[in-house]
């Protein structure tokens, strides 16, 4: 169960995002900036992990974050807000699309290297310092495995693993009856993803 004061804090956090979104849609630049500032860190982490080295050379992660935020803002009118989970799903999808786009652009560039740069070990066999956290294949396998999870469980997992929200907020946002229920949902998703990734050979 969510303690009353925590419930109030969660409700405040949730309504704050909703309010900012509404104000941003009405053209309030300050609200837009405040909204994306709230997600800058997880978005930066998300993009940094997925940008291949070739694209990294062309763009700083911060530039990418700005670009993705701008794209998200221009699409806000088409976005149906159903909580933080849905908003983060919206942001990361735009981020994924952008990563694919800049990766293709990098591949076409004269010195861009290959899309699989990140997967290639350095000469001494260790992982190169500039490597993306996730190889292209691993990222795709992760997204594929994730797509087999129900929307609310997926939202709970992503809010925990990518946005690092606490279980009480996740429970309030995703409609779980308690933080413990939200935690259990996240744990089950991890188990499911482990099975899927291992089966596809991305754990070897």
């Amino acid at each position: 169960m969510i303690p009353e004061e925590r419930r109030a804090a969660c409700a405040s956090e949730l309504s704050r995002t909703a309010d900012l979104l509404e104000e941003a849609r009405r053209g309030d630049a300050a609200a837009r900036d405040a909204l994306f500032a709230r997600y800058r860190e997880p978005l930066s982490r998300f993009l940094h992990a997925r940008l291949p080295a070739s694209a990294r050379g062309m763009l700083e992660t911060e530039d990418v974050v700005q670009e993705v935020s701008a794209r998200a803002f221009s699409n806000l009118d088409r976005f149906d807000y159903r909580g933080i989970g849905s908003f983060w799903g919206f942001l990361r999808q735009i981020g994924l699309n952008y990563v694919v786009q800049v990766s293709r652009r990098a591949r076409r560039a004269p010195d861009g290297g290959s899309l699989d740069d990140a997967a290639e070990p350095a000469a001494n066999g260790s992982r190169p310092a500039w490597a993306a956290l996730l190889t292209k294949e691993a990222g795709e396998a992760f997204e594929k495995a994730l797509s087999s999870v129900s929307p609310e469980n997926r939202a709970a997992f992503l809010l925990r693993f990518e946005v690092d929200l606490d279980y009480a907020t996740i429970a309030a946002d995703c409609g779980f009856p308690s933080p413990d229920a939200a935690r259990m949902a996240v744990c089950r998703v991890v188990q499911h993803l482990t099975r899927e990734l291992a089966r596809d050979g991305f754990g070897a």
């Binding site: 992982r127 089950r188 991890v190 188990q191 754990g203």
Partner: protein
């Protein structure tokens, strides 16, 4: 994947979700998981942490801890809820008190505690993340256990049942066995040092006075007087495994009655009484406790160390035997559920018990559930096959040996399905406490409510009661689409006596088609599944400990 591999994945999944570090090297060395599963889990860890997969300590670069609030204190230390900002996870931070009487000794103990904890990796022992010296003063970064101490639970909710205490004792015996295996003695096993974590895990805390059994043992011996063994009062005595066995015996005694075996007005009086073995017999404090349990506690708290259990393992074995015997007919020391006036018969047939040992190997979840009907102001027990009629009030009394999440579903012959519990807005809410008889659906604004029977014209109702030590996420998800019984004060038109309680109206909601068999795995429960199939499918799932009970009632024509 084998059961043990599933257990390992489940355990590590929980660690990753909670932001706890995973010792990948140790996992590999244990051979508990294949490399592909380990690799998949490490991939997920990297997504969680935003760092490349690595076995390196998350604290290799030093602590970055934000103290949030004090959550406990002792004579030499304070414990704070804190946030590890680098990883964004909550931790418990233990610091030497600035006003410690002997700060040097406190620092030494801190380091000894850190080393002891670092040497033990056991689910019933609090985990240490790191230790850091700040200006020469150690600070311990520990696992933050979300839950309540046994002391708090008993103070708030009263003593446990002997069976529940035995289960707690088994967990603590395992913790002690792990500690003793490392050549250590805890020396301060007491109710305030034992947490029951959310989800039911029992965790032994506070190794502040731990002793390396290989080091000289000179008095005076530290400890908490009411839980101390006779040898701890003796400067020349030597503390060892038997000291912890004694303290655990005292804890079990206290947990079933809320009192200590020896009570005194002064330290000297207490010491003399303990040395003389002048305890108040447990049977005097709780005459309803089974003799087997009393004997175990008495053996553990024998004055002479050599008369106690020779090891934590032997202690655990005795508790297990008690539990296995207490499951037999007539062996419970007291009625598992106090009956309300007028209540009688047990629900017997059609009970399906499902209990799957969890990864920790603890005892199966037990559900003791009985339905009652109140008619003409008189409550009586219901058995499968009994009839109910419009206007009857139903309630359920349920009791568990562990904290449980409870779901009660009703299905009629037409396949209409309703959620009877959880009942939004009513108390209690999930999870329901162990060792207490819960009357469901519960109360609202201090007023007891029942389910009102509204179905008529014959047919039958099947009611499924599911108890689980952890939330059944897919079931909860499914239930959001199932009509719930709605709170509604019974109106005079329904000819229900509302003088003492209002009622929940059962029998409204949309139809759920019936007929298809449940899948073997209920990842997404089908609305077409019948309750009997669900019961079997839920039983087959091995995700957590569960107990399921079905009752079939006839509607009077």
């Amino acid at each position: 994947m084998t059961d043990s591999e599933r257990d390992a994945v489940r355990r590590i999944a929980a660690s990753l979700a909670d932001g706890q570090p995973v010792d990948w090297d140790a996992l590999r060395a244990s051979g508990a998981l294949a490399e592909r599963e380990i690799g998949a889990l490490r991939l997920l860890e990297s997504i969680r942490s935003g760092r490349p997969p690595s076995g390196a300590s998350p604290h290799a670069d030093g602590l970055d801890i934000e103290i949030l609030e004090e959550i406990g204190s002792g004579s030499a230390s304070r414990v704070h809820r804190a946030l590890d900002r680098a990883l964004g996870r909550p931790v418990a931070l233990k610091l030497v008190r600035a006003d410690a009487i002997v700060p040097e000794a406190a620092r030494e103990r801190f380091l000894a505690e850190a080393r002891a904890l670092a040497s033990i990796d056991h689910p019933n022992v609090v985990r240490i993340h790191s230790v850091e010296l700040v200006d020469g003063t150690p600070r311990l970064c520990l696992e933050l256990v979300d839950g309540k101490t046994l002391e708090r639970i008993v103070r708030d909710d009263g003593p446990f049942s002997p069976e529940e205490v035995a289960r707690i004792g088994i967990d603590l015996c395992r913790a002690l066995a792990a500690i003793h295996a490392k050549g250590l003695v805890h020396r301060d096993v007491k109710p305030s040092n034992v947490m029951r974590a959310t989800g039911g895990r029992t965790v032994l805390l506070d190794f502040g006075v731990v002793r390396d059994a290989g080091s000289p043992d000179r008095g005076p011996h530290p400890g908490t007087p009411v839980a101390m063994a006779p040898e701890q009062f003796d400067a020349a005595g030597e503390t060892g495994q038997a000291t912890d066995v004694y303290a655990l015996g005292v804890l079990l005694y206290w947990a079933v009655c809320g009192r200590y075996p020896v009570e005194a007005a002064s330290y000297e009086e207490l010491r003399d009484l303990v040395r003389a073995g002048r305890r108040t017999p447990l049977a005097d404090r709780r005459p309803d406790v089974p003799g087997d349990f009393v004997s175990i506690v008495e053996k553990a708290t024998a004055t002479a160390p050599s008369s106690r259990f020779e090891s934590a393992g032997a202690f655990e074995r005795a508790l297990r035997e008690f539990l296995s015997l207490s499951k037999g007919p007539g062996r419970r020391g007291r009625p598992a559920m106090p009956w309300i006036a007028g209540a009688a018969a047990l629900i017997a047939a059609l009970a399906v018990w499902v209990a799957i040992a969890s990864w920790s190997g603890r005892a199966p979840l037990e559900l003791d559930a009985r339905f009652f009907v109140t008619r003409d102001g008189v409550a009586r027990g219901l058995s499968s096959g009994d009839s109910v009629r419009v206007g009857d009030l139903l309630f359920l009394e349920a009791r568990f040996n562990r904290e449980s999440h409870v779901y009660v579903l009703d299905e009629d012959d037409a396949g209409e399905l309703f959620t009877m519990f959880p009942a939004p807005g009513y108390e209690p809410r999930n999870p329901l406490r162990a060792g207490t008889t819960h009357r469901l659906p519960g109360t609202r604004a201090g007023k007891s409510h029942d389910w009102l029977v509204s179905s008529q014209g014959g047919g039958a109702e099947t009611i499924l009661v599911v108890a689980a030590s952890e939330p059944i996420e897919h079931l909860e998800s499914f239930l959001r689409g199932v009509p719930a019984v709605k709170p509604e004060d019974a109106s005079p038109a329904r000819k229900v006596d509302v003088s003492t309680r209002a009622a929940l109206y059962r029998g409204i909601g949309k139809t759920a088609p019936a007929g298809a068999a449940a899948e073997s795995h209920v990842e997404s429960p089908s609305p077409a599944a019948r309750l009997e199939d669900w019961a079997a499918a839920l039983a087959r799932e091995d995700a957590t400990d569960r107990a399921v009970k079905l009752i079939r009632l006839r509607n009077a024509p």
